[in-house]
Symmetry: C2
C-alpha cells in the first residue's frame, strides 16, 4: 500500500497504531547499536590463529630478516606479495604500513599538504581554495580528513555503477579540485561496485590539476556476501594505459579480514609517487610493526586460505544482512523508503522520504536503537535531502538485528505518515 | 705519549707502523657495523615471552574491552599505567601509540605545522622563518624531522649537565624559535643526563614564542648500564610549577625494552594539548594496535618485572661498552681523542681531532668497519669541527666490538699523525 495514496483518515488511523507500537518499544528499554561497521566477536574468533602464529625462535622473514628488530621500512616482501595477491597491484608498487589504512590515507594527504606530490606546483596547504570530490553517500571518516585539512568538499552522487561521471568530468576542470575519495568495491554505505567503464574513465579523464589524486580505498576488496562477488577493474592498469599512473593512491587492509584493531594496511602507488612517499615516510618512522606482518603471513599460508577465511566471514554476516532485508520487505510497497541489496561489504544504505532521516534517527535513538548519525554519510554531516541512513548490521547478533529493524521499520512508517499528513496540511 | 709533542721523526716512524697495521686490517676482509643503536639478538630473545603472551579467548583488557576490535583510540588504560610507572607522567596525560615514538614525534610536529598547537597564533607552516634548537651532538633522526619540515636548525652545545642553557636562554628570545629536541637521559650520543637545574630552567625559562615546545624524547628512561643509574628530574612537575605545562611533549617507547620493530610508544602532554591532539588524531586513525599493548601488559606483570628485564639488557650490553672503553684506553694519553663513559643508553660519543672525523670514517669504511656517518650527529649532517663520531656497540658481539675498536683506534692514530704532520708543514 503506497502511503501517499492513502486518505487522511487511513493515515491517522495508521499513525495511532504505529504510535502504540512505538510506545511498546519504548517500554522495552532496549539497547541496540547498528551504527558502525564492526565485525562481530564470532568473526574475530576465526582469526585467532594469528595470536599463536609466532613462536620464539621463529621471527625471521623468508629472507632471514629478524622481524623483531629495526629495518625493512617498507614492509616484508612476503606481505607485499600477500596484498598483491588479491588487489592485483604489483608487489613493487606496495608499501606495507601499520594497523590502519585510514592512517595511511591521512598521512598521504598530509604529505600532499606539506610537501606536495608528484606533479605539484606547490604544497596543497598553499592552495587556498583547495577542493575535494566526495561521492555521496560515502564514508564519514574520509570526509573528516578532508574537512580537517581545510578542503572545500563537493558532493558527487553515487549511481548504480559508481560516481556520476558527468559531474566528475565537469568538476575536474577546476585546477583547485585536487582529488576524489573512492570506495570502489562494495562502497560504504551503498554497497555498489564501480563498473569497468567508470574505473576506466576515472583513470583516463583529463584533470586540470596536474597533481590530481584518486584516493582508492579498496577496503572491501575480498569481502563478498554473495556466492559470486562483484569484480572490480584494475585502476592501476587503466591509469598506466592512459599515462596517468601517478594519479592513483591505492589503499587496503586486513582490518576486516583479520582484526580491526590489529590488522595490516598498505598503500600502493606509481614508482615516482613511491620514491617521494618513501623519502618522507623514512623521516616519519623507522618502520611499521613487522612481527604483525609475519603473523599474518604465517596465518594465511596461501591464497586459498584467504578465500576460505573470507567465506567464513560471509557465512556469519549473511544472515544479518538477510534479517535487515527481510525486515525492510514490510515497507517494500509503501513508497516511503528505498535501500540497497549489496553483494558484499559492511553496509546497507537506506533512503527514507526527503526530510525524514534526522527524525527517524531521533525516534530510534529514544527507543534504544543507535543508528549511524543522520547526515554522517555526507561531507560536513549535511545530507541536503535529509534522507540517507547507513545500516551496519554486522556487530549485533542476528536476533538483535531483527529487533533493531523492527523498531526502525515502525519508526520509518510513523515518521513517513506524519510527514505526509503535515505536507498535506501546508499544501 | 701526547702526539703533538712528538718530533717529526717520531711521528713519521709511527705513521709507517700504523700504515702497516692498517694494511693488515684491509687484508682481513672484515665486515663490521657499529653504526646504529640496534639491540643484539640476545637482547631480543629476552622479550620472546611477548610472542606467546596472548591466547585465543584472552584478548580482553582489564575493563573487558575486546582488544581485537575497533575502539579505545588513546590506548589501554593499563598500558598508560605501565608508562606512567616509569616516567612519572600521570596516566591521564598519556596517549598510547603504535610501535614508533619517532612517528609520534613526527606526527606531533606535523600537527603543529598544519593546525598549530595550544598558544599558536597560526600554524607553523605559515611561520616562514621558523627555527628549532638542536642540542649537538644529537640524534640524526630528530634533525631529519625538523629539516624535512623546513625549520632552520640552530646548534646548541651539549655540556656535562645538558644543553648550554646560556645559549638556550638567549635563543628563545626569538619568537620564531618554536622548540628544542631533547634526549634528557643518556642522551644520544653523549650519554649525558640533564641535571635537575637544567630541567628546571628548560621548564621555567621565558620564551618569546607563546607556543614554544620541548620535544622531550625520554627514549632511555630505564636503560641503565651501571648498577646505579642516573636520575632525571620530572619536567612536567617543573613546567606545571612554572605555569608552562603546555610547553612539554613527552615521548618514550618500549623499542629498546622489548622489540625495536614491535614495541609500544607513547606521547604525553598537558590536558589542553591532549584535547587538541586527540581531536586531530581521531581523524588520523581509529586507533593503534591494542593487541600489542595487551601483549606487553601480559608480559610485564609489574614494575619489578620491568626492572629485572632491564637488568638483563644491561648485563648483555655492559661488556660491549667495556670493550669500547678498554679499546680506547690505548689512546688515553695521546691527546688525539676524547670520549664519553655513559651510565646508560646506547651510545658512546667520540671526539677526534678537529677536521679528522670524516677521514676516520672513510678509512674505517675501507677496512670494512661501518661507523655512523661523520656529521650525522649534527643538523644537516654538518659537524662544524668535523670531529664527532657516534659509537653504537650493542648489535655486534663483544669480540667483534673489540676488533672494531682495534681498527678504529689504529685509524684514529693514523689520521691524527698525518694531521699533525700536515699542520706543521703549513704552519
Amino acid at each position: 500500500m503506497v502511503y501517499s495514496k492513502m486518505s487522511d483518515e487511513e493515515l491517522l488511523k495508521l499513525e495511532g497504531e504505529l504510535e502504540k507500537k512505538y510506545r511498546e518499544y519504548l517500554g522495552l528499554g532496549l539497547k541496540l547499536d547498528i551504527s558502525r561497521g564492526k565485525p562481530a566477536t564470532a568473526q574475530l574468533d576465526i582469526s585467532d590463529g594469528i595470536l599463536e602464529a609466532l613462536k620464539p625462535g621463529d621471527c625471521r622473514s623468508e629472507s632471514g630478516f629478524d622481524c623483531r628488530n629495526y629495518g625493512l621500512g617498507d614492509g616484508l616482501p612476503e606481505m607485499k606479495r600477500f596484498f598483491s595477491g588479491f588487489t592485483g597491484v604489483p608487489e613493487k608498487n606496495i608499501i606495507v604500513g601499520g594497523n590502519s589504512s585510514l592512517q595511511l590515507m591521512y598521512d598521504a594527504m598530509v604529505r600532499c599538504m606539506l610537501y606536495g606530490t608528484v606533479g605539484s606546483e606547490r604544497p596543497w596547504c598553499e592552495v587556498k581554495g583547495r577542493k575535494w570530490l566526495c561521492v555521496v553517500p560515502g564514508y564519514d571518516r574520509h570526509f573528516a580528513i578532508t574537512e580537517s585539512l581545510g578542503f572545500e568538499m563537493i558532493n558527487v552522487d553515487m549511481k548504480e555503477d559508481g560516481p556520476d561521471m558527468d559531474a566528475v568530468r565537469r568538476l575536474v576542470k577546476d585546477p583547485d579540485v585536487k582529488g576524489i575519495w573512492c570506495v570502489p568495491k562494495y562502497s560504504n554505505p551503498t554497497g555498489n561496485t564501480y563498473s569497468d567503464e567508470v574505473v576506466r574513465e576515472l583513470a583516463s579523464m583529463e584533470c586540470a590539476a596536474p597533481d590530481f589524486r584518486i584516493f582508492w580505498d579498496n577496503a572491501y576488496a575480498i569481502h563478498d556476501l554473495a556466492d559470486k562477488g562483484d569484480s572490480l577493474a584494475d585502476i592501476f592498469a587503466e591509469a598506466e594505459k592512459a599515462g596517468h599512473e601517478d594519479r592513483i593512491f591505492y589503499f587496503t587492509s586486513t582490518s576486516k579480514v583479520t582484526y580491526p584493531g590489529a590488522g595490516v594496511a598498505m598503500i600502493a602507488a606509481s614508482a615516482a609517487n613511491l620514491a617521494l612517499i618513501k623519502s618522507i615516510m623514512n623521516v616519519q618512522t623507522i618502520g611499521y610493526d613487522k612481527l604483525n606482518q609475519l603473523r599474518h603471513i604465517r596465518f594465511f599460508r596461501d591464497a586459498d586460505a584467504v578465500s576460505a577465511h573470507m567465506r567464513k566471514h560471509s557465512e556469519i554476516m549473511r544472515s544479518k544482512f538477510d534479517a535487515v532485508l527481510n525486515g525492510f520487505s514490510a515497507i517494500k510497497d509503501c513508497g516511503i523508503a528505498e535501500w540497497t541489496n549489496p553483494r558484499g561489504g559492511y553496509f546497507i544504505s537506506l533512503d527514507v522520504m526527503d526530510g525524514c532521516a534526522s527524525e527517524v534517527y531521533r525516534l530510534c535513538k529514544e527507543a534504544g536503537l543507535t543508528l549511524t548519525g543522520a547526515g554522517a554519510t555526507f561531507p560536513y554531516g549535511r545530507d541536503p535531502r535529509d534522507r540517507n541512513l547507513r545500516i551496519a548490521p554486522t556487530y549485533c547478533g542476528e536476533e538483535e538485528v531483527g529487533t533493531a529493524i523492527g523498531i526502525l521499520v515502525t519508526v520509518i512508517k510513523l515518521v513517513s505518515v506524519r510527514r505526509i499528513l503535515a505536507d498535506r496540511k501546508t499544501a
